[in-house]
């Protein structure tokens, strides 16, 4: 059963958030202008002040509710999703999967141009029916109390969801963890998938296994192997923690909006193409909306657990055919993203039809570079309609 859904956060939840923010017992920071020790205290203080005193959730709640939301339960897993019908002669169904620490709302800027291209300077023939679920345990796909829901299970849930919506065949798109959900759709369900588009490339066993060999990196990709290694060395402790003990972390972050904000903010700054100035890519309102969505849905713990589920229930192939991902695939990488795998590897792993590397933009593509993403999606899927 699919129910329509409207977001309406109770006043007392917002009041409690505000009072917690005002009573924050702020951890002292020093010698940390470059954020080397993690989230910078002065900027965090400024953002928390804004969140408590100036930010108006109701404005953003209205914007979010301008889209059509639904909820359903599949295999005991609550799933929330946006479903917007395309305006055009024959809209193509497209399910878009977000990542961590994202929410469904990180896709906000592409919904209009993808569903209604004619209103955004495009061609109505490029219209999509857009389905944007919250990953299990994220946002309004909560509470998730069932263990074992990893990205592979999520792909299974998406197939059921699309069937319920009457889509037997559909296209899929994703970044970060959503790219793994998307690639798994292209691996296990290639017969149902018109094509996949990912802006993070990686073997499905990457979280539980190995990365491609450094010798695979070709011309123009020389710095990527070193960049990947640096990321794993310096920036991946959060991932190791969330892969093993997400619950230990969750108590503090679910109880302290300052703690939650610091945890997510550091990633937003470090992973985006912002030159160290996070507001070049995310306004204070953007950041506070993300934080509020995590806070009011109490989803930081279960979202972190998505890593542990990937680690504990390693990906298992559904077949041993090559390429691993048989669905037609487009890869769109961004030079400033955190992990980039080589084209030579991608050509063997996916049924690769399209490969582009954008020079600007980082990890949070739909928020950072929505136009590049929309353009690439239209061009790629045009041939598959």
């Amino acid at each position: 059963m699919i129910e329509t859904f409207k977001i309406g956060i109770a006043d007392d939840v917002l009041d409690d958030l505000k009072s917690r923010l005002r009573r924050t017992r702020f951890a002292a920071d020093f010698g940390n202008d470059g954020w080397d020790y993690g989230t910078n205290g002065a900027y965090l203080r400024e953002l928390l002040q804004y969140w408590a005193e100036d930010y108006d959730w109701r404005v953003h709640e209205r914007d979010i509710n301008a889209f059509s939301h639904f909820r359903t339960v599949i295999d005991d897993v609550p799933i929330h999703f946006i479903h917007e019908r395309g305006r055009g002669p024959k809209p193509m169904p497209l399910i878009m999967s977000h990542g961590w620490p994202w929410t469904f709302w990180d896709l906000q800027k592409v919904i209009g141009p993808l569903t209604d291209p004619a209103s955004f300077g495009g061609d109505a023939a490029d219209a999509f029916d857009v389905i944007i679920p919250s990953l299990p345990g994220f946002g309004f796909s909560t509470p998730l109390i069932t263990p074992g829901v990893n990205f592979s299970r999520t792909a299974d849930l998406w197939v059921t969801l699309m069937q319920r919506l009457g889509y037997e065949k559909f296209a899929a798109q994703g970044g970060d963890f959503g790219a793994f959900v998307t690639a798994q759709l292209g691996h296990k369900y290639a017969g149902k998938i018109l094509g996949i588009h990912v802006h993070l490339a990686g073997p499905l066993g990457m979280i539980s296994g190995n990365m491609p060999d450094a010798s695979m990196f070709g011309p123009g990709e020389e710095s990527w192997a070193a960049g990947n290694a640096a990321f794993l060395e310096q920036e991946s402790a959060y991932s190791r923690l969330q892969s093993t003990k997400p619950q230990t972390l969750s108590y503090g972050l679910n109880d302290s909006p300052a703690g939650l904000c610091a945890w997510i903010l550091e990633k937003r700054r470090r992973w985006s193409d912002c030159g160290g100035e996070v507001e070049r890519r995310f306004s204070k309102d953007d950041l506070c909306t993300t934080m509020t969505l995590y806070w009011v849905t109490q989803s930081i713990g279960t979202s972190a657990r998505f890593y542990a589920e990937a680690k504990r229930h390693p990906w298992t192939p559904s077949h041993d055919r090559q390429p691993v991902v048989e669905a037609p695939t487009a890869v769109l990488l961004f030079e400033k993203d955190i992990v980039k795998l080589p084209r030579r590897w991608a050509e063997r792993y996916y049924n690769l039809q399209r490969w582009n590397v954008a020079q600007t933009g980082g990890h949070f593509v739909p928020m950072e570079e929505p136009d590049i993403l929309v353009q690439d999606l239209r061009e790629f899927f045009r041939a598959l309609r």
Binding site: T24, F26, T248, G252, A262, R305
Partner: protein, 391 residues
């Protein structure tokens, strides 16, 4: 530097801080309960809730505080920051001075039981000739010592601070003891001041120790190779995930832990349970009141962030020794069976002068809390030959 006032100190937490803690504990926003095995994904919520409910409603901080204050404490400013320390004079004919350094997730609270055992052995069935003048500092950034205000407070820098402290107390020669970070600080004290350190007793070998291997030094023995492989495998498996965050982005984590007492308790107690010799039941080896005394010290002093930043600072002073580098003072090592990773003796002997190596019958990473009597006996026995008459 050697001179400076030593100010008597006792712990007294304001009533308003106690009330604020109780209010925060009562208002804790717990995550949804997960249908999974207890502790499978980290700190178990039922256990944690029982502990933090008790923290807010049953635990008597004033009694814990009185217990701490039964030991003589002082503060003195060294290199711009106040250092808090216990200083209990020995009861015996010629007490030997000893400085005991704690670690993380502990604090000086780890040593509350062992201080009297070492200072006044006769009172506990021992020999008064084994008495020590016991000094237990709070490491800079921990407990009631000041938090550093600039980067660079490495374990090596702490050793320099503690050497000043001992000099200021008038001790020209002394023993050093420690586990966890305290083992690293003790190692640096022994390395930097061999003429002052009469002996070094450890119950943990620094996990980051890099002794010289190959070339002029022996190649790895089979046992050493197996040890190194086990360390690499554990690192890959993410066994020390807490420390990965501490060593890379500690500040990011600190905001939540400094603002949420249940978050802090989860972070500390999960670690205690992981590395104590307790078969998953931490309260069977460390009483809940003592665990909560330790957590309370972190909470009231707001030191969780400064404490975990040490893991990052420590990268500025790696425990790495080139060929020929030796730690001259004799080493006594108490090897506890539940300890996280005890290297083979030959690994330790590459750098230290191993004079005593005791296989302890039981106990884990928190030897001074889990097995104070056994640890005290090993410390007494080790230092007996190194006591200087009249010192």
């Amino acid at each position: 530097m050697e001179h400076g006032p030593i100010i008597p100190f006792s712990v007294h937490i304001e009533e308003s801080a106690l009330a604020d803690l109780r209010r925060r504990l009562a208002a804790a926003r717990w995550p949804d309960e997960l249908a999974a095995e207890p502790w499978e994904y980290g700190a178990d919520m039922k256990t944690l809730r029982r502990m933090t409910d008790y923290w807010g409603e049953g635990f008597d901080w004033r009694a814990a505080e009185a217990g701490i204050n039964r030991l003589a404490q002082f503060k003195t400013a060294i290199k711009g920051g106040f250092v808090h320390f216990i200083h209990e004079r020995g009861v015996g004919p010629a007490p030997m001075p000893i400085i005991i350094s704690h670690g993380w997730p502990g604090s000086f609270v780890e040593m509350l039981d062992i201080v009297p055992l070492l200072a006044d052995p006769a009172r506990f069935g021992g020999d008064a000739r084994d008495a020590f003048d016991v000094v237990v500092p709070s490491m800079p950034g921990y407990g009631f010592s000041d938090r550093p205000v600039a980067p660079g407070m490495t374990p090596l820098a702490m050793a320099e601070v503690f050497a000043v402290l001992m000099a200021r107390l008038g001790y020209a020669a002394y023993g050093v003891q420690g586990g966890d970070w305290g083992a690293t600080v003790s190692t640096w004290l022994a390395k930097l001041y061999p003429e002052r350190v009469s002996g070094i007793h450890l119950n943990w070998i620094p996990g980051s120790l890099q002794p010289p291997v190959g070339g002029a030094d022996p190649a790895l023995s089979d046992a050493e190779a197996a040890f190194c492989a086990r360390m690499a495998e554990q690192a890959a498996r993410g066994v020390s995930t807490h420390t990965g965050i501490h060593a890379s982005r500690p500040q990011t984590l600190g905001y939540g832990l400094n603002d949420s007492p249940v978050g802090l308790a989860a972070w500390l107690i999960d670690k205690f349970r992981m590395i104590a010799d307790c078969d998953g039941d931490i309260e069977s080896v460390i009483p809940l009141d003592r665990l909560l005394t330790n957590v309370s010290v972190y909470w009231f002093t707001e030191t969780i962030t400064s404490a975990i930043r040490l893991y990052k600072e420590a990268q500025g002073a790696p425990v790495k020794f080139l060929s020929g580098a030796r730690i001259l003072p004799p080493l006594g090592f108490a090897s506890f069976p539940g300890e996280v990773a005890v290297p083979p003796r030959e690994w330790v002997a590459r750098v230290y002068d191993v004079q005593r190596w005791t296989e302890m019958p039981r106990g884990g990473h928190f030897a001074a809390m889990e097995q104070p009597q056994a640890l005290a006996e090993d410390i007494r026995a080790f230092f007996r030959p190194y006591r200087r008459p009249g010192a």
